[in-house]
């Protein structure tokens, strides 16, 4: 979607027209299409979407972790004004180490099992982003007393900041000796070690159980308050998005279908999908059971014509099947991609109440015919 929000002054990250496709066994999968997003200095921006909508692929494209065949990436990703996609690999690696920090999704599998935590993290301090010239240089730096202990001091410092219990003990342990919560903290620490300007967090805490998840989120909240970092977060959990973000992008089927400030998204959602998501959040005050949006994410090797959401949309009609939905802007910061909002369209504009009604009716008839 070509978003219309005014690009923040001097954005840390500006993604423009990003598209990603994969060569696969069954054909070419057109996954990410025309994604625009930006993150300003000190902003917390979240991409929200269900599993399979392409949010992880987007972040991997930004950090350059997709293997180029079979992936095909096009568009521009500007970090501090430099396009990452057209940069040579070594410069890109340098940025990954220093300017951009990434917190990976699954803490249990994202740490190397055969190295002690301290070893891995200290290596990130010494060699993340500044690679040694060769094996001899590596050995020299690794085994230099002063350099190594400086690195380890830094690790200890950050581990304390992420509220790791017993940082010293953790550094001497192997990842499988640590709990899930501790591993997640270690991952966050690893992203912060080199003082990044931009932190990218992929479903932080999702793989852990609820109480730990909460603790991690409050940790992130503290970190956000303490530092002047920009954060790009991914989640499928609306509650998390609401709690931590300044702005939100809603992603579906590889496209950004709605964007706006947190308040705008939650108070005045425009796209039927967003409304459906909000409608299906369980509420304690409601009597009715929340209905979900039936159906599943599109098959990327053979996506639907026109709007990618139309097979599941309660407002879909012929116009939705035949044309790509245009982008409509609302105010300074919000926009959405839906045929119903096009000035020439005749159908009703989606509202929360109407969407809820239509979804309930649809799930009712599904239950009846089952």
């Amino acid at each position: 979607m070509k978003t219309n929000e005014p690009v923040p002054e001097d954005p840390v990250l500006a993604v423009s027209d990003l598209s990603v496709g994969f060569e696969g066994f069954d054909g070419y999968a057109d996954v990410i299409q025309e994604v625009d997003l930006s993150v300003g200095k000190g902003e917390v921006v979240t991409i929200v979407g269900e599993t399979g909508c392409g949010k992880s692929v987007t972040t991997k494209a930004i950090t350059g972790l997709l293997e180029e065949p079979p992936a095909r990436v096009s568009g521009t990703v500007k970090y501090d004004g430099d396009d990452l996609l057209s940069m040579p690999d070594e410069d890109r690696a340098e940025l990954n180490g220093d300017g951009i920090g990434m917190v990976f999704q699954d803490p249990m599998s994202s740490l190397n099992p055969v190295f002690e935590l301290g070893e891995q993290l200290a290596d990130t301090v010494q060699f993340g982003g500044t690679s040694p010239d060769g094996p001899l240089a590596y050995l020299r730096q690794r085994y230099s007393r002063t350099e190594r202990s400086a690195a380890r001091d830094r690790v200890r410092e950050i581990l304390t900041q992420v509220q790791m219990p017993d940082p010293e003990g953790a550094m001497d342990s192997y990842p499988n000796e640590l709990s899930g919560g501790m591993c997640q903290r270690a991952l966050i620490a690893q992203a912060l070690l080199n003082e990044p300007d931009l932190l990218i967090a992929d479903e932080p805490g999702t793989a852990l159980d609820v109480t730990i998840h909460d603790k991690i989120l409050s940790l992130l909240s503290d970190l956000i308050d303490d530092r002047d970092m920009s954060i790009l977060m991914i989640t499928h959990n609306l509650g998390v998005a609401r709690e931590l973000s300044d702005r939100i992008y809603i992603m579906y089927g590889g496209r950004i279908i709605e964007s706006g400030t947190t308040a705008e998204i939650f108070e005045q959602p425009k796209h039927p999908y967003t409304q459906g998501l909000l409608a299906s959040m369980p509420r304690l005050s409601d009597d009715s059971m929340a209905g979900g949006i039936s159906g599943s994410v599109p098959e990327y090797t053979d996506p639907p014509n026109g709007c990618r959401f139309h097979p599941r949309c309660p407002y879909a009609d012929e116009a939705c099947r035949s044309q790509n939905p245009p982008t409509e802007a609302f105010g300074e910061t919000a926009s959405t991609e839906c045929v119903r909002y096009a000035p020439s369209d005749t159908g009703p504009e989606p509202t929360m109440a109407e969407t809820r009604r239509r979804l309930d009716a649809a799930s009712q008839s599904e239950a009846d015919s089952a």
Binding site: F25, T51, G52, G54, V57, K60, L65, Q105, D106, E299
Partner: protein
């Protein structure tokens, strides 16, 4: 590219036909598998048709023609002649026959025995399992060649005894493999369903569990064919396998060592022939392994 987090889920489960097609593609995508299949198929065909295909079938037995001894490769004798004047190409073809016979017999005995014992051990568990496994461990504690040597030397060294010696060890690997597979299948739903339905243990072992173990077994048999042939050739080389004047490939190499390096063809061609056959089995086995997507302990 991380397979865990960046591959998108597929929501369509592939049809049976598609699965077969994919397996077939996995095999044919590797040129080496096809080469292996061609080699093995070709050699088996030639060996079976040996009396028809070989240029000098009479040279297989006790034939001597000293006038033509130690002739270098020529049009008459593409692989040359050996120390008593026999055509090497003919003897290599018949040698392939013996090697394939060895492999077929050893595996024909060792595999069923091993698989049966493995099934019993894996499915029954308990002390039966422990007893059978102790026995296999004992046999596995020695390199096959050493024990085969010891056994082969108890009687007159001949091909048949060598077969017996090698087969008597070979079942252990299959027992181990099958036992592992059977033990892991024991708690599967289809097994428990059969138990509930009152099927006999034999039925469950043979008709339920065994078919699910076939793929890894097939891969291992193919790869083992090569190893058995190598072991047999080594025994013949030492003098404990095929005895002259029978055209055992290892025996031929041993006899030719006296004439190195000037009349190199007497040793080199039979040796190379062994290499080609084993290479074929290895490539074929590897292709099968890719096709069935299996991990086999070697």
């Amino acid at each position: 590219m991380s397979t865990e987090s960046s591959r998108l889920d597929r929501f369509i489960s592939p049809s049976r036909r598609e699965l077969w097609y994919r397996s077939y593609r996995r095999f044919t995508d590797q040129p080496m598998s096809i080469v292996g299949a061609v080699i093995v198929g070709g050699i088996i065909t030639v060996a079976v048709l040996a009396p028809l295909v070989a240029p000098y079938p009479a040279h297989v037995g006790s034939y001597t023609d000293f006038a033509n001894a130690l002739e270098p490769p020529s049009l008459d004798h593409p692989l040359g002649t050996d120390s008593v004047g026999r055509d090497i190409l003919t003897r290599v073809i018949f040698g392939y026959r013996l090697s394939l016979l060895l492999a077929a017999t050893v595996l024909g005995i060792g595999v069923p025995v091993g698989v049966l014992l493995g099934l019993v051990a894996g499915y029954t568990g308990g002390w039966v399992d422990a007893a059978i496994m102790r026995a296999t461990d004992t046999f596995l504690a020695l390199p096959p060649l050493v024990l085969a040597l010891a056994i082969a030397s108890v009687f007159e060294p001949t091909l048949e005894i060598a077969i017996f010696a090698v087969a008597s060890l070979w079942w252990t690997w299959y027992a181990r493999l099958t036992r592992g597979l059977a033990a892991s299948q024991r708690d599967e739903q289809y097994v428990q369903a059969a138990e509930l339905a009152g099927a006999s243990r034999t039925h469950i072992m043979l008709r339920e569990i065994l078919p699910n173990c076939l793929s890894p077994l097939l891969v291992k048999v193919t790869l083992d064919a090569g190893i058995v042939i190598l072991t047999g050739a080594s025994l013949s080389f030492i003098g404990l396998g095929v005895q002259p004047p029978r055209p055992g490939l290892g025996t031929m190499v041993a006899n030719g060592t006296k004439f190195l390096p000037q009349q190199w063809w007497v040793s080199i061609f039979p040796g190379f022939a062994i290499f080609v056959l084993v290479l074929g089995f290895n490539m074929l086995g590897d292709g099968l392994r890719d096709m069935f997507d299996v991990e086999v302990e070697q």
